[in-house]
């Protein structure tokens, strides 16, 4: 089987039947030649053909050190070229709102309440969106002509039933206005063209379907392309891990436009940095402030300050609770309901300037509860203003429960579903000693005997994202666009950026073992191997669908 050639060690005598009498001990070490596979399995999204040779040539230690310092790895030019067309990934939230407006924002633009884009094409687009919205709301607008009025029956036949090449050639030959007519009046054709379109045309099709959706598509596209192509694999794995740890939900209102900036500016720069910085970046991110409602949480206002018609507002403890339960201490980390309320009071006034327009974090002193608070036994004196929240972050970031909770989560992702306590303790000690230096915590883990043990080797079930990306990498797949891969990941149970609950997806591999998931994995494997996933082509290495759907390939 091709996979077996690609990944030696499977099916060999070494990995054959382990008899585990009690719990695994994580002490027996894997063979020296397996270490490179363990590193590639866990620190990347799965080996590509030739990766093992490359790591061996460089030296495993040196390779790991480079992965821990991603800035020293020159990025893969293929990836950079592919990312270039995804312009939303570089925009600030407010740029996203004005360049890729939702129907509501477009309406404000047309009504003159918000500035119109400067680009004439975009202006046209904004008008079209508003027309569409008005039409949907039953307001009188000029009805668009029917396809039959625009195209001859022969033309319609080509567009609707031609081969992909015929359709594309016909479309290419049309003048731009007529192309727009096709995209607007024939949604079925639009979709069919998409699968074979060059990047610029795909962009136009995305835009014609609704600019707001482009933001989402680019996010998914970017995530998958990076996971598949980036040379900075550990950084990608960690960005996924930490986004999930500080999960926000794309489909919660304004978060639609806030997640791009959140992942890029709050998560990614800190994944190998100080936990305290990562924590503060998320705490001050509009995406998190909106998702966990803190932007609306206000302290008791002095009576005259509140106008009679102003909505009654007050404390919201959603963020305060999840901050301790999910982001730092862990649910058994030793806090009480009283602490939740006190932390929520500390964060009153941490808000967003106009979230619906992609505004930034701002501290609003009038919304802040300036009284004294006590958090986990630490007194926070009255009058602290914005520093109250920062003090809470200090307390939480250096708390032993946090060190332990974070270390355990990392060990669950990288070592085993039930990581050995001794390893977690050592990682937590490093966390506390280094002031929460995440690179150092990773180093402790990677220097441990547990990480390189037989009990950790190819024993962890891949998440849907791990599985889909590792399969594409294993066959050296070439990805034109990754939307359909994102759909596959969703089908397997892990819709990207769309975990509604603040818990994020489970780090436990075993959560993904069930009948529905296995069937979806097998079907995906067959589709990928048969080149039936639009946008993805198998590379030089042919891997059979049976191998990609095999029990062995589900684990890493």
């Amino acid at each position: 089987m091709a996979v077996l050639c690609l990944m030696p060690g499977w099916g060999s005598a070494k990995s054959a039947k382990k008899v585990v009498p009690k719990g695994p001990s994580f002490s027996k070490q894997i063979a020296p030649d397996q270490r490179v596979w363990q590193a590639l399995d866990r620190l990347t999204f799965g080996p590509r053909p030739g990766d093992a040779e490359r790591v061996n040539a460089l030296g495993l230690k040196k390779w790991i050190d480079l992965q821990l310092h991603p800035a020293r790895i020159p990025e893969n030019p293929t990836l950079e070229a592919k990312l270039k067309t995804l312009d939303t990934l570089g925009m600030t939230s407010d740029e996203l709102v004005s360049n890729y407006p939702s129907p509501q924002v477009a309406k404000l633009m047309v009504n003159g309440q918000l500035p119109m884009p400067t680009d004439p094409d975009r202006q046209m687009l904004v008008r079209k969106i508003v027309d569409r919205l008005d039409r949907a709301q039953g307001q009188p607008v000029q009805t668009p002509p029917a396809p039959a009025d625009l195209f001859t029956p022969a033309e319609l036949r080509t567009l609707r039933a031609g081969t992909p090449q015929q359709r594309l050639a016909f479309f290419d030959a049309l003048p731009v206005e007529r192309q727009d007519q096709v995209l607007e009046t024939l949604p079925g054709v639009r979709q069919a063209l998409y699968d074979n379109a060059p990047p610029e045309l795909r962009r136009r099709i995305d835009l014609s379907a609704g600019p707001a959706q482009v933001v989402v598509r680019d996010l998914m596209e970017g995530k998958l392309l990076r996971a598949i192509y980036s040379g900075r694999q550990l950084e990608e794995v960690l960005t996924d891990f930490w986004f999930n740890h500080f999960n926000v939900y794309l489909d919660k209102g304004a978060d639609h436009y806030l997640v791009t900036e959140y992942e890029r500016d709050a998560i990614r720069p800190h994944v190998l940095g100080k936990f305290r910085d990562l924590l503060e970046a998320t705490a001050k991110s509009p995406a998190m402030l909106f998702y966990l409602d803190n932007w609306q949480s206000v302290g008791p206002a002095p009576a005259p300050a509140r106008a009679a018609n102003q909505a009654r507002r007050g404390l919201n403890e959603n963020y305060g609770r999840e901050l301790m339960e999910l982001h730092t201490l862990g649910v058994d980390g030793g806090y009480t309901q009283k602490d939740v309320t006190e932390v929520a009071r500390c964060f009153t006034g941490w808000t967003i300037l106009q979230p619906q327009r992609g505004g930034d974090f701002v501290f609003n002193p009038r919304a802040h509860d300036n009284g004294e608070k006590v958090v986990l036994g630490v007194k926070i004196p009255a009058g602290g203003g914005m520093s109250d929240g920062e003090k809470v972050l200090d307390i939480l970031a250096r708390h032993p429960s946090t060190a332990h909770f974070i270390s355990r989560e990392l060990a669950q992702r990288f070592v085993a579903d039930a990581p050995p306590a001794a390893l977690v303790d050592r990682m937590a000690q490093t966390f506390l000693k280094t002031g929460g230096d995440l690179r150092e915590v990773m180093k402790t883990m990677l220097a441990s005997k547990e990480f390189w043990s037989v009990d950790a080797y190819r024993t962890k079930m891949k998440s849907p994202l791990d599985l889909v990306v590792s399969a594409v990498r294993a066959e050296d797949g070439q990805v034109d666009y990754a939307l359909n891969l994102a759909n596959q990941v969703a089908q397997l149970g892990e819709p990207l950026y769309r975990k509604q609950e603040p818990t994020g997806y489970s780090n436990l591999g075993k959560e993904w073992v069930n009948t529905a998931g296995l069937l979806a994995r097998m079907n995906f494997a067959l589709q990928l191997a048969d080149n039936r996933i639009p946008g993805v082509k198998a590379g030089t290495t042919k891997v059979a669908g049976i191998d990609l759907g095999s029990p062995e390939f589900q684990k890493h």
């Binding site: 403890e317 509604q500 529905a516 979806a520 684990k555």
Partner: protein
Amino acid sequence: MTNRRIFLRNSALAMVGAGAAPLWLQRALYAADAPSPRKKILVAIFQRGAADGLNVVVPHGEKAYYSLRPTLSVPRPTSSGDKRDDAAIDLDGFFGLHPSLAPLKPLFDQDHLAIVDAVGSPDPTRSHFDAQDYMESGTPGLKATASGWMNRALPPAERKVSPVRAVALGPVLPRAMSGERPAIALQTLAGFQVRDAKAAREFENLYAASEDPVLGGVGRETFEAVAMLQAIQKQTYVPAAGADYPRGRFGDSLRQIAQLIKADVGMEMAFADIGGWDHHVNEMGQRASEGQLPNLLREFGQALAAFWQDMGDRMADVALVTMSEFGRTARENGNRGTDHGHANCMFAMGGGIHGGKVYGRWPGLQPEQLYESRDLALTTDFRDVLGELVARHLGNPSLTDVFPAYAPKFLGLV
């Protein structure tokens, strides 16, 4: 654990050859095993995110409800002449249904829908994750419990067991159904297959030969279930009596549960969930009939009512029960929302359910009556409700296995 799970199984299908047995034979095999012509079926619905029970089953007779919620209450029921559509629908002079649940009112009136109020998990946690975990494991406060209550509530494997006796709708198997007895997760009936028959056989062999006991076991369960469902997944399903399931995942789930029940494939337990109940902000619009909670309740109520209608006579064998991990603060918060609270409400419906009544002792909403001065207090343990359904509806007497260290007190629901 997983090894046992494989040995526990004694599938008749394995004896006749899984892929080969025609559906009528499979049916016959399972039917022969049943003590009565048709097995009883339990359907459990989880409302994830902590639904605001006080705005679902509205205590309109409680003055404190209105003072705790100056901008977030459902108006008192109106007299018959007044056709206001945002008021509570009166049930018994004290409680009323949220107006979005109007489709359920006839079921209550026909005594097929029972409501339990001030019910929930006694554990004080206000963590969604922990509370869901406890409610699904059936052991509040105990994190180490390996299996879910529904899995333990399946009667121990008899001679022949359907591979689809426990089905959860969705991409992952919920905690409530996980455990030693086979239970399957299924996204859609139509998609529950390997689309290439030759590859399917190869996969089946590969998984059967797997050294990994978990993957091997689940792989086997998968292919047995696929074989079982092959015949029905090709049919176009038309709900009976014009039942109109709402669009969306939850309506789809209930429609497919109905389809599975009617196909007589040996399903004894089904699970579906519906998320989005965590309304910290703007729970309702300016009127109680509009906004986030009202919209979600509309979908919820329509789906349950459509299921009832679709099932028709078969509802005699079915009990459906709903739950949510905890309730929400009795007092509205500063953002026209509610924060994490304690007790909640549960629904039970079915042909054998003694409905038309709100069960449970009402603890009141006066300051001194609230749990930790903020939440609706708990007067009924959720295990009392589930335990009664397991024992008296499913006929599984071993409640000590299902809810260890707890003796459910029956309310007389069944």
